[in-house]
């Protein structure tokens, strides 16, 4: 009789087939292949038992490793081994100021105390939320019968206090643990009082994330994850922290929160002093609320947290630490101050991207980030936050589709294409160091509809510059990619066929509408925005390095410019665009132009932004290059005049 083969398949049918295969080698019982036989019944039982064992073994083995674990409790248990504390829910934080008007003169003191856990109410998106302070503030008398506070930080949630000895566990090592029963906890808000009744909330123990520098007498507690999204709090067993004695009461107070739901709330009311009028001014709307950390995030961050050991040494450490602690941060870029212009040695420049287009974060947020980093950076390194820079892309999408397979109009196809670009930006870009891969975008455009025959994309990086009017700058813009160097500009050939590597949108200088571009020799020249007879106003306004894409302007000044910024376009050698260091890559709808062909005929060609000069390549068959120009800042118009670089070239872009 043949030796039974090992079970290599995990499902029932395969296991049964393997058993049948084995039974073929014997002659005593031949009915294994007929489902009605007694033999078949027994095979069913054996196969089911095999399947059952396989399933449990497979599942148990999967749950044994962080990479393959599927159950949250297993993942959290592995994270605990790595000394990683999965993020709990986070309360949204808002900053407000309070003004108290007391015309009746009921308040006699110079200061009004705003106690810890003072409540503020807000109604946001049809729901009511409660915000509370987490420390005591004061409002000082600033005028007769008027008291005003400084910035007050308030957090969404409700305070809970446990005072139950039933939740306490003293484990085999004699360590006292307190199980916190509510999974909606924000662990940042944990406060622990020992022998609270006797000392009236005075004997406070503070949270520590590591045993570094903790002595036997220090009043600290630690937090560890527990099952079902709950947390445990434990003490140092009189080695790494003082442990409360057996009969002391331990009171834990913490905040429970709704997570992200109150993000954006910006109108608050409060009434902590009766019979007076209290006006609340919002300095910063509620932000930073987050749900508890996802499984994928824990799997990704736990090993990294072990690597960096809660210290910010390399640039990656800053990124991981900040993203881990502050869930509102979408992307972080950190780099040495030596890379700044001018260099700032001994500093680390950090830019953060908070899911919006804001270049600057509020001082409050920056301070909280720096406070967090200060204890984790080497002594001689000073972290500071710099303005977040963006890189955009000027996209020209040419879509060709057939009417035989769809009833969609060109406008519908265009809307779908813009939607694809928007989603692509969110999914693949919207962070530092990201890369726009045109082939991937092209694939997604093809998937819009089966009627799409082909598509092509032309992309150019854009950097925006928002100078203050009538102020002199020496700005530098780094595209970080080699540029297509044009033939050197000559006065004899003029601008007719000239294709600059760098070109700006229009702005006003000395009462003239101008733009700047390179001259093919490495210089930036300022040129009048004159369709018929463009003139060079300033031949040496800066330099461009065609290898690195580094553009430097000298003594740049402007009187006005349309929109919120001057756009600088680059003509890069590579089709794919990579965001240079410290810039977040975004695709905006206003930078997207579409050219739609239906059954081979041009039917639509549109842009959402007519205020910038854009070099557009017309349909291949026309072989012309078009340039459209909107109104300048001086004229204030947005007429969108059309002219062609070569004669008879208007047909390709008639939509502008």
């Amino acid at each position: 009789m043949a030796t039974p083969k090992p079970i290599v398949e995990l499902d029932f049918d395969a296991a049964k087939a393997q058993l049948k295969q084995y039974l073929k080698s014997q002659t005593q019982f031949k009915d294994y292949n007929f489902e009605g036989s007694n033999m078949s019944v027994m095979l069913d039982v054996l196969a089911y038992n095999t399947y059952h064992n396989n399933f449990y073994t497979n599942m148990a083995m999967n749950e044994m490793f962080l990479d393959s674990a599927m159950l949250r409790n297993s993942v959290i248990s592995h994270a605990k081994e790595l000394n990683y504390l999965p993020r709990s829910r986070k309360s949204p934080k808002a900053v407000v100021r309070v003004r108290i008007d007391d015309p009746q003169g009921t308040i006699e003191d110079q200061v009004v105390v705003i106690p810890t856990y003072t409540e503020f109410a807000t109604s946001f998106l049809g729901q009511t939320f409660n915000f509370i302070t987490n420390q005591t503030y004061v409002a000082r008398k600033t005028a007769p019968n008027v008291w005003e506070s400084e910035d007050i930080e308030i957090f969404e949630g409700e305070v809970l206090a446990s005072f139950e000895r039933e939740g306490f566990i003293i484990d085999d090592n004699g360590v006292l643990r307190v199980a916190l029963s509510n999974p909606e906890i924000d662990t940042d808000s944990l406060v622990c009082f020992i022998d609270a009744e006797a000392t009236e909330n005075q004997n406070v123990f503070t949270f520590r994330s590591s045993i570094f520098g903790v002595g036997a007498e220090d009043k600290v507690f630690y937090v560890e994850p527990y099952f079902d999204n709950r947390y445990n709090l434990y003490f140092g067993n009189n080695v790494f922290g003082l442990q409360p004695s057996e009969f002391e009461d331990v009171k834990v107070r913490y905040r429970i929160t709704s997570g992200t739901e109150a993000n954006g709330a910006n109108k608050f009311t409060t009434a902590f002093v009766p019979d007076v009028q209290i006006t609340t001014t919002t300095i910063q709307a509620a932000a930073g609320g987050a749900e508890r950390e996802t499984l994928e995030s824990i799997k990704s961050n736990a090993p990294k947290a072990l690597q960096i050991q809660d210290r910010a040494i390399t640039t990656n450490d800053y990124e991981i630490l900040l993203k881990q602690e502050f869930p509102e941060i979408n992307a972080v870029s950190a780099y040495g101050g030596d890379q700044l212009e001018p260099p700032q040695f001994g500093k680390v420049a950090i830019s953060v991207y908070l899911n919006d287009n804001a270049q600057l974060i509020s001082q409050t947020l920056a301070n909280s980030y720096i406070d967090f980093l200060r204890n984790r950076t080497p002594l001689t390194i000073e972290p500071f936050f710099v303005k977040t820079e963006f890189l955009y892309a000027d996209l020209t999408l040419t879509l060709s589709y057939t009417s035989k397979e769809t009833e969609k109009s060109p406008m519908q196809i265009e809307a779908l294409a813009r939607d694809v670009v928007s989603k692509f930006s969110v999914t693949n870009l919207n962070k530092f160091k990201s890369k726009l891969r045109l082939s991937r975008l092209s694939k997604e455009l093809n998937d819009i509809d089966t009627a799409i025959d082909s598509n092509s994309i032309k992309a150019k990086p854009i950097i925006e510059f928002s100078p203050t009017i009538n102020q002199i700058y020496n700005p530098r813009f780094v595209f970080g990619a080699p540029l297509i160097r044009p033939y050197a500009y000559t006065t004899t050939e003029g601008f007719t066929n000239y294709k600059p590597a760098i070109v700006s949108s229009v702005y006003d200088l000395d009462g003239i509408c101008v733009f700047f571009q390179d001259d093919g020799k490495g210089n930036i020249q300022i040129v009048t925005d004159d369709v018929a007879n463009p003139q060079i106003v300033k031949p040496n306004a800066g330099t461009v390095d065609y290898v690195t894409g580094d553009v430097k302007l000298v003594n740049f000044e402007t009187e006005s410019y349309p929109g919120s910024a001057i756009k600088i376009y680059a003509n890069t050698q590579q089709d794919d665009i990579t965001a240079p260091n410290g810039r977040v890559f975004l695709l905006r709808d206003e930078d997207v132009k579409t050219v739609i062909y239906l059954d081979g005929k041009l039917v639509a060609s549109q842009s959402t932004d007519d205020n910038v000069p854009v070099v557009l390549t017309a349909p291949a068959e026309s072989g012309v290059t078009l340039r459209t120009s909107g109104g300048s800042g001086s004229s204030g118009g947005a007429g969108g005049s059309v002219y062609s670089g070569t004669s008879g070239g208007s047909s390709g872009s008639s939509g502008y």
Binding site: F12, F29, D31, G36, S37, N38, Y48
Partner: protein, 138 residues
């Protein structure tokens, strides 16, 4: 001319063999008793007819599902339905039995349904008859 003479010592080759449902031991060989050929097929058919659909692990369609029909009215259409189910079940799951005839009758007094199946199996010239009595058990 040489004649083949069968003697009792020559062993008949059986095409089908199965053990008994209760794993009965043969007292002579001290091994598990074996059902062979005709008996084996009869046992398999009986098993199939007594099995309800969904009863066997991971094989939800196996079985004739006759039990629920035993609570229907004892009328010719019910018998016809039982006959159809028996026929289709055997065609699918018992390819060894070449069905000749199926007769279904009932006894109101006993509350039983009698299924008579006549079939051929390979390697046997005579048709085989199998009677299965289906009873409601409470």
């Amino acid at each position: 001319m040489t004649l083949n003479v069968f003697t009792p010592t020559q062993k008949k080759i059986s095409l089908y063999s199965d053990f008994k449902k209760d794993l009965e031991v043969n007292l002579l060989t001290d091994d598990v008793s074996v059902l062979r050929d005709e008996d084996s097929v009869k046992e398999a058919i009986r098993n199939l007819l007594m099995t309800d659909r969904g009863e066997r692990l991971k094989q939800p369609n196996l079985g004739a599902g006759l039990r629920q029909l035993l609570f229907e009215n004892m009328i010719p259409s019910t018998f016809e339905l039982i006959k159809e189910r028996v026929k289709s079940t055997l065609e699918i799951y018992e390819p060894r039995a070449d069905i000749i005839d199926i007769t279904v009758s009932g006894s109101l007094d006993e509350g039983s349904v009698f299924v008579n199946i006549v079939f051929f199996i390979n390697n046997r010239e005579q048709p085989i008859t199998l009677d299965v009595i289906l009873e409601r058990t409470r």
